[in-house]
């Protein structure tokens, strides 16, 4: 009951952030890139969240940053889900050597410290927002693959799949119409956690100078740029730091909510 409240809270926050991101050009009081020789100034009526070291309005940058951070998170997760679901579904459905080779590929990817892979691929592709999404997606699909495979191995045994096969459904139809919808719960949970993870990964990439590139603002690179100013201009780091935290928390809450609704064991009542 309490958790579901948290999940609703999380959903509400995400909805608000999404709205702010979409309407950023309307809401933002300034252009996010407009610099001013004044440099960093604390929050005031002109600049509610203050300005950064180049005199740019932190509120406007946060709003535009929401677009970037949320879409990096969302697209990266979609990529990871597509890859992971496909790999897991194929592996779990066909089994045998198909399963074996896909799962070995998953093992290879898992055995890599993904930060190295991300860095190397980023170096290869040069950092920009699309590559950031792509690279994070490409290095985070393995968990989903294992999960979907596990679900499929379980579902494959169930009667309705047998029945579908008996009436002559094709493989693709069985996978997508009969099996996948039944595995969607865990996938949704993985998606919310994955999106949270992607937003954090983007900020870690920013630390390495390989995240979303300037002048585009993402919460990750705002936070990174601010770290040198923690003492002189704390608002520069507090705002994006809080935004990241609240977003990630909201996503976790949503994930937990979905998880608890799905798990009947948590909701036992009298016999």
């Amino acid at each position: 009951m309490r958790r579901n409240k948290a999940a609703i809270f999380g959903l509400a926050i995400m909805a608000i952030f999404l709205g702010l991101a979409i309407f950023a050009p309307v809401i933002a009081p300034y252009s996010p890139d407009e610099i001013s020789s004044a440099g960093a100034s604390p929050p005031s009526w002109q600049h509610l969240f203050g300005t950064d070291d180049l005199g740019r309005d932190v509120l406007s940058r946060s709003l535009y940053g929401a677009r970037i951070s949320l879409s990096v998170g969302a697209v990266a997760v979609v990529i990871a889900l597509l890859l992971g679901t496909l790999a897991g579904a194929v592996a779990g459905y066909y089994g045998g050597w198909v399963d074996g080779s896909i799962m070995r590929a998953v093992d290879v990817m898992f055995a890599f410290p993904s930060i190295f892979l991300i860095l190397a691929i980023q170096a290869m592709l040069t950092p920009n927002i699309y590559n950031v999404m792509f690279v994070i997606g490409l290095t985070s699909w393995m968990g989903v693959a294992r999960l979907v495979r596990g679900e499929f191995l379980r579902i494959r045994q169930l009667q309705y799949v047998e029945a579908a096969r008996a009436i002559g459904c094709g493989d693709l139809r069985i996978i997508f119409r009969h099996m996948l919808p039944n595995a969607q719960g865990p996938i949704i949970v993985a998606a919310t956690l994955g999106m949270a993870g992607a937003i954090l990964t983007e900020s870690a990439l920013s630390f390495l100078g390989m995240g979303v590139q300037p002048p585009m603002s993402s919460w990750g690179n705002m936070l990174m740029d601010s770290q040198a100013y923690m003492r002189d201009a704390p608002w520069m780091s507090i705002i994006p730091g809080l935004l990241i935290m609240v977003t990630v928390l909201s996503l976790y809450f949503i994930g937990e909510g979905v998880r608890e609704t799905l798990s009947p064991k948590e909701r036992h009542a009298g016999s």
Partner: protein, 499 residues
Amino acid sequence: MAIAMDFDQEGILRSSLNGEVSILNPVLSTDNISSAVEGAIFNGLITFNEKLEVIPELAASWQASKDGKTWTFNLRRDVFWHDGRPFTSEDVVFTYNAILNPKVNSVRRSDYIINGQPIKFKALDKYTVQAVLPVPFAPFLVRMGMGIVPKHLLGGKDLNTASFNRRPVGTGPFIFKEWTSGDHVTVVRNPKYFLGAPKLAGIKYKMIADDNSQLVALEADEIDEAGIPPKDYERMKKKAGIKVYDYDVLLYIYLGFNLANPKFADLRVRQALAYATDKKQLVDLIFKGLASPASAPTAPISWAYNSNVPKYEYNPERAKKLLKEAGVNSLEFTILVNQGNKEREKAAVILQQQYKKVGVNVKVRVMEWSALLKIVNAPKDPKEFEAVIMGWSLGLDPDAYSIWHSSQYPAGFNFVKYSNKKVDRLLDQGRLTTDKNERKKIYAKIWQEIAADQPYIFLWYPKALTGIRDRVGGLSKPGPAGLFVHLEKVFIRNAQVRP
């Protein structure tokens, strides 16, 4: 634990390095960080004083022949390697021949090859070395500062892999003691140093790659010396126990245009962009004013500096007019900057806004250093970039042949394809002339020509800002050579160093 030890041990200078020492062999090392440590361990034939003038070190004196091709160095006779062996001319010849050996991975080799011919080094006797140049070459003497390595330890060994590179033995004021990979290098005083025993008991170089962490360590009294970011300058100046020094360095940062690209072929376009560049805003926003707007491919502290060059003071109206004159209605281009360099990234973002005001649309592309160089240095014509923000660290000699001579394209560092017959001729002349005053005039003309052509927009001359804890004394006068020109004179206040 390591830190507690420092407080116990008196007279140790706790220095810091903002990266990792890679190799302690002056023949092989290429990075400033390794060089900083090598400076304490090794000596060259010559060295530089605070004013960057050449002064004797291992060589007591030298003479050049009349034709300027034969140089004779008379070595000091009181120098010993840290292992007790005497230093001789054999060591000098060995060092330079090692650099010239193609099997040795030294990228300094080209410093000692002139017009495709190597300089010949010869030991005339135990304490005399002769260098024979194919042609007279003005920058020769400053290149004799290379740290000399011992023949008796390296002769017959594969220099690239010698264990010496990790446990170096030199002639300098400090003796190598310990190197913990990625953490610190410690050196201890050489009581027999030929310029006088150092006053420090030793130096511990702590490797701290992150600028913020370095600053925090200085504030927390864990190190004695650290670079100060400009935005912390005022705060650190007020901080008790720390003194902040600022001084100019031989470096300039620029926005270079690919002149092979038709967008930048017209001089008026480049001039327009120069007028559209508010260098003062750049310097104020990025450095809080602790850097100076640049105007020429040199630095104010170079002896060949010439302030009398076209300056293109900020004038957006003039910029718009020039663009119109050039018939440019819409200009759009991409600036490359290297990833990890916040100052240049910010500069690109600021330039983007400044150029927007004159109707020029700029995209910024941040690339990893290696990837960026791959584009800029690829030996092909035309190159695949439009504009790039980079910096040149200048040698002590003003020679800029490799940057501006038209022969240095497409292979070479004239990657913007600058081509000016007059500059070519002056560059050739500048290398061959040995008289300093003559050369000064030649380079003044070169700077004027280049500044007028604006193949680069010269952005700023950085300053070095260094914070030193009060307990450190004996620093040299702040200058481009740093604060530790005479390491043997540096001391820790109130420390008892056993003689």
